[in-house]
Symmetry: C2
Subunit: 184 residues, 2 copies
DNA sequence: TAGATATTTCTCAAATGTGTGACATTTTTT
DNA sequence: AAAAAATGTCACACATTTGAGAAATATCTA
């Protein structure tokens, strides 16, 4: 994959994340190249959108699975999953929404869906395990803890835009806030 | 304002919230009426978008200011501001973004900007006050506590869509999570 | 520097979206 | 039930967006 193609995809992800029907001219401007060049790399708009979705899936999946496999300690796994989501930034909320939107047909035949499920059943097992050992609040459902997880990630995306703070500081703030929120 | 006009605006807010450049046909479909009817109520697309923005501002401002004025106790005010945001739902994140986007020219001449500032300087004063009295964690900046606030609201929007839980239960969960997250 | 490759510029046709007039149909009001 | 008001259907002009060819220009590479 050429550098230009990557550049277009990153630009498109940024633009489409906040306006899926934005004209391709916007994507081209954002990537600092012409629309004609953009059309040489992608058959049509649909293909570009689809490739963006794939790129988001691949990078988020990779980060989340690496986080899960980076430790055997549930609490460490949970912490690293949060950091992985923060590293994905705005992509994460799209990833999250993709498998939950009403029109999405979630099926195990689809590799992406299967991986998504692996990630979130693992997450839920982690949470239940930590609730049993008294580390997490047993009164909060795993589902709530999960939406909170993505809400905190969303917060860090906003914090980055507004505050221009050090990303490591933001990560620490996020983990402190999150772990306190869900502790008994 | 007729019921139809309201219906169109609510529909448009839903659609534009997730895709600002969506075709008007989508708005019409979502409101279960024809594009022709939609055009009878609004001069053009810009007018509809602008009216949606006004509607969001009015309803969010009203809810937030009422929350502030509903008590003299800072911690109660903070709690009610969270509930007010939750009641606004998806509108809240648009409201929040409107005054913070890069191209928005934030000026005190504009009533909406002035009101927004009133709400958020009040919020910050509240937080600083509560940090002084040891109720909130003094190590977290008011800015972070604010992005967390909107992140938690975002979480409740997702929780509603996914879990179809009782809204009052979600509010309680949200407040418990938030207050713990920001306590010392 | 010469040749290959990538990008831009300009152009244009096709597709899609927007706004409106004329008239039919439905719903509401009296 | 008749009149009035609101909504739908169809047709159309116009604007914007999309996708691609052809040639000029820029960039990279040996």
């Amino acid at each position: 994959m050429t550098a230009t193609k990557k550049r277009i995809i990153e630009s498109a992800i940024q633009v489409f994340n906040e306006d899926l029907s934005a004209p391709l001219q916007k994507v081209a401007d954002n990537a600092a190249l012409t629309r004609r060049t953009l059309h040489r790399y992608f058959k049509d708009r649909n293909e570009l959108v689809e490739i963006c979705r794939q790129a988001i899936q691949i990078s988020c999946k990779k980060a989340m699975i690496a986080a899960i496999q980076s430790s055997y300690e549930p609490i460490v796994q949970l912490e690293r999953m949060l950091y992985a989501g923060i590293d994905c930034g705005a992509k994460y909320s799209t990833f999250y929404k993709m498998h939950r939107s009403a029109d999405h047909n979630h099926t195990m035949q689809n590799k992406n869906c299967a991986d998504y499920d692996y990630i979130y059943t693992t997450f839920q097992k982690l949470v239940i395990e930590l609730q049993k050992t008294g580390i997490l609040n047993p009164k909060m459902s795993p589902e709530w803890i999960q939406v909170l997880h993505s809400g905190i990630i969303e917060s860090t995306v906003n914090a980055k835009q507004i505050n221009h703070q050090n990303i490591e500081d933001i990560k620490q703030l996020a983990w402190i806030s999150y772990s306190k929120a869900i502790s008994p």
